[in-house]
């Protein structure tokens, strides 16, 4: 039933996360970005909220809650409001866990879920993006070919978060023309991990490129084994996750610009008193809301057990474009101060570029 209001429970989750983010993330976001390191204690503190394991059955170490895509968007928004690199890092295991919960065979769930549904955060990751022009997530260049009971993977991946510390990397590859997921152990001799990537944004997130050279994966490590998985469904959820993070970055950008415009005095009055500035703030305000509403719409579809291909696709398209615009406005409102790294605005600007480009950096 149509409802635009946040429930009491949702408000509670949101404010709990917001408090954590305020204490641990916002204050340190600048240092995280400059140093490239997130304090493991921060990640651990967020991990202990149980976000990534809530929908895992109890027998595998989760809480056995029903999947709650809308709640997840609220959480991801709050985390990315603090810092997107932290949001990705702290919820990273979700990207590995979620496909197993949805499509893993009982044997796979039993083998892998308890490994990561523990009290201590343990990195495991998902490799989807590929380092080439015209990258298209629906037609991956990385391939998996069946060969005498195993699969042989070949290809390259980029923006693979924390792959150097992860024991298991889930790799998306085209298999008989369909995207499928394969679990690759870090010790696999066919897996080659690069040095840390240097990117436009998300400085705080350690990510790498990986090469798969005749990388042999046993058939038992194809997610869903012979049945495989429905990659489209996974993509719907990761897109909603990315949109939720976009909402967070954009809200941070909007609020910072709004507050700045009220405090910055030029020609004897706050610059917010000028329509040319005020109208940018107004546009930022309703575009943040629009991104959030489109995210919620797609998440509501998922919550109802319906297909959200269209809604998640349009939401990501919209979020990608508007996030860039909102953060551009943000830099513009701050002028020179938006350009220097003492202020967070240039970081929002760099990170927001990732929304349209990246796939599968968070999931609901």
């Amino acid at each position: 039933m149509l409802d635009f209001s946040i429930s009491k429970e949702q408000k509670m989750i949101k404010s709990e996360i917001a408090k954590l983010v305020k204490d641990l993330v916002i204050e340190n976001a600048h240092d995280i970005d400059e140093s490239g390191d997130i304090d493991p204690a921060t990640i651990q503190a967020i991990w202990e909220m149980g976000i990534s394991i809530a929908s895992v059955p109890e027998e595998f170490g989760g809480f056995g809650d029903q999947s709650a895509p809308v709640d997840s968007t609220l959480i991801l928004e709050e985390l990315a409001y603090g810092d997107m690199a932290v949001a990705v890092a702290a919820t990273l295991p979700s990207l590995f866990i979620q496909p197993l919960v949805m499509f893993g065979t009982p044997a796979q769930q039993k083998k892998y879920l308890p490994l990561y549904c523990s009290e201590k955060y343990k990195a495991c990751t998902l490799a989807v993006n590929e380092p080439h022009f015209q990258f298209d997530v629906v037609s991956l260049k990385t391939t998996a070919v069946a060969k005498s009971g195993d699969y042989v993977l070949n290809g390259e991946k980029c923006f693979v978060p924390m792959a150097r510390t992860a024991e298991h990397i889930m790799v998306a590859a085209a298999c008989d023309g369909k995207n499928q997921l394969f679990i690759v152990e870090s010790s696999n001799p066919g897996l080659h991990i690069s040095d840390r990537e240097k990117n436009l944004g998300l400085y705080g997130l350690e990510s790498v490129e990986i090469k798969l050279v005749d990388c042999v994966v046993p058939a038992s490590d194809r997610v869903g084994e012979a049945n495989g998985c429905d990659f489209g469904q996974i993509l719907q959820r990761t897109r909603v996750g990315l949109c939720a993070m976009a909402t967070g970055i954009c809200r941070a950008s909007y609020e910072f610009a709004r507050n700045y415009a009220k405090e910055r005095i030029q020609f004897g009055e706050p610059i917010a008193h000028r329509q040319s500035v005020a109208f940018m703030i107004a546009e930022m305000a309703y575009e943040v809301d629009a991104i959030r509403l489109m995210t919620w719409q797609a998440a509501s579809k998922l919550a109802a057990g319906k297909d959200a291909t269209r809604e998640s696709y349009l939401a990501k398209l919209y979020a990608g474009e508007k996030a860039m615009k909102i953060c551009d406005y943000g830099v513009q409102v701050l002028g020179g101060h938006g350009y220097v790294r003492d202020y967070p605005m240039e970081r929002f600007y760099r990170n927001s570029r990732g929304i349209s480009i990246l796939e599968a950096m968070a999931t609901v």
Binding site: M1, R258, A282, L314, A315
Partner: protein
């Protein structure tokens, strides 16, 4: 709990309204675009429908009884009056926005009547078609500056002035006229009066020839010593000199009507998006929401962007209407919806014509008409700039003298 899915029943109502628009409005859409000022007699069948909603019982006991009988959101997820109006308005404007504005007994004045009239006024005017007259030659967005006067003379108010851009001017039975009872009181002196057609001194001066929504008759009224019974004043006759509370009350009507105008814009935009999709698919484009946006033609990308914008417009509008239905103040959200929808409907219909090329420039199709029709959505009921001003003042917490 957040849930932006419409239930099946509501989706069905939506589909039925669209079907109505398809069978009744679309076939006569071009006819009345060409026959400007001619009354669309086909719309007479709508006359008895309470399009602007039903008046609420002002008698407190009856109101309490009605409320007790039907608590908000009971009956298994029934949507509220504003939401339901927004959905039907959008569907009907997918058919034709000019004709929607011409639906009998569904003038803005009817909305004002339902919002603020007392039981006696409802009894006298409830079955009439009532237009709204605010704008004057020298008073547009700044409706606090109106110069039409209303002077109390015994049991009557005497109205003098000129009103322009009155929708349904020719077809309506009565007009809600905004006039000032005390110019020195500024906004607080502005009151609204129901003036019936045929009242001496009340003259329809002319009808406008417009860019779009030509099916809708827009006109100018002259008020020359026009005497209306003092019972025809809507709302509180007192001039509250302190602050602008009275005026704010009048402006509050707009919190309900702005989402309506936004939904009109959404309706036209959806017509353009849908038509463009049909044409593209006919031409062999496969629009299945799978391809990466970095890996498609500019036409496909433009199409998807238009559809995404439409979704954003729709959701901002729904939110504003939903809030009104749930007794939440929606002044900010109503303006956000109107700002977004008014502007984007204009751009979407422009781009639709652009992509269609010669088909978009020709009057053989309706695309060119939608481009003309949609432009008014960023102008009436407060221009896009006024909406941005309202949003900006609201979020920046600035008053009208700080942010002018």
């Amino acid at each position: 709990m957040i849930d932006l899915e419409l239930n099946e029943k509501t989706e069905k109502v939506r589909a039925n309204m669209k079907n109505l628009a398809k069978t009744l409005l679309r076939p006569i859409s071009r006819k009345y675009d060409l026959a400007e000022h001619e009354y669309p007699k086909e719309l007479d069948m709508f006359r008895s429908l309470p399009i602007m909603g039903k008046p609420k019982k002002k008698d407190p006991a009856a109101a309490a009884a009605a409320k007790a009988k039907k608590p908000a959101d009971a009956e298994g997820g029934k949507i509220g009056a504003n939401m339901s109006l927004v959905l039907s308005t959008e569907a009907l404007c997918w058919g034709d926005a000019g004709l929607l504005l011409s639906l009998p007994n569904a003038g803005l004045g009817n909305a004002a009547l339902i919002a603020v009239a007392n039981d006696d006024q409802i009894a006298r005017f409830g079955s009439k078609w009532i237009a709204m007259a605010i704008t004057e030659p020298q008073s547009g967005s700044d409706s606090g500056s109106i110069s039409t006067t209303a002077q109390l003379d015994g049991d009557h108010y005497v109205l003098n002035g000129e009103k322009i851009f009155v929708t349904c001017a020719d077809r309506c039975d009565a007009v809600v006229v905004w006039a000032t009872v005390d110019k020195s009181a500024g906004k607080a002196g502005v009151k609204s009066f129901i003036v019936e057609k045929g009242t001496p001194g009340f003259k329809l001066e002319k009808l406008e020839h417009k860019l779009g929504i030509r099916a809708s008759d827009t006109g100018t009224f002259l008020l020359n010593n026009c005497r209306v019974p003092k019972e025809n004043l809507l709302g509180n006759p007192e001039v509250v000199k302190q602050g602008t509370e009275g005026f704010k009350g009048v402006m509050k009507t707009f919190d309900n009507t702005r989402p309506l105008v936004a939904s009109m814009a959404n309706g036209i935009a959806s017509a353009a998006v849908e038509f463009l999709k049909e044409q593209l698919e006919k031409a062999g484009y496969k629009l299945d929401y799978s391809k990466s946006v970095h890996n498609m033609s500019s036409v496909e990308k433009a199409y998807y962007r238009m559809e995404a914008e439409y979704e954003a417009m729709k959701l901002l509008t729904w939110r504003a209407a939903w809030m009104a239905d749930n007794q939440q103040s929606n002044n900010l959200e109503a303006s956000m919806a109107k700002a977004k929808s008014g502007r984007m409907a204009t751009l979407i219909t422009q781009e639709c014509c652009d992509i269609l090329g010669p088909v978009g420039f020709s009057r053989k199709q309706l695309a060119e008409k939608w481009m003309r029709d949609s432009k008014i959505m960023d102008i009436f009921e407060g221009t896009g700039q006024i909406q941005h001003l309202i949003v900006a003042r609201n979020v920046l917490k600035l008053n009208s003298s700080e942010l002018r």
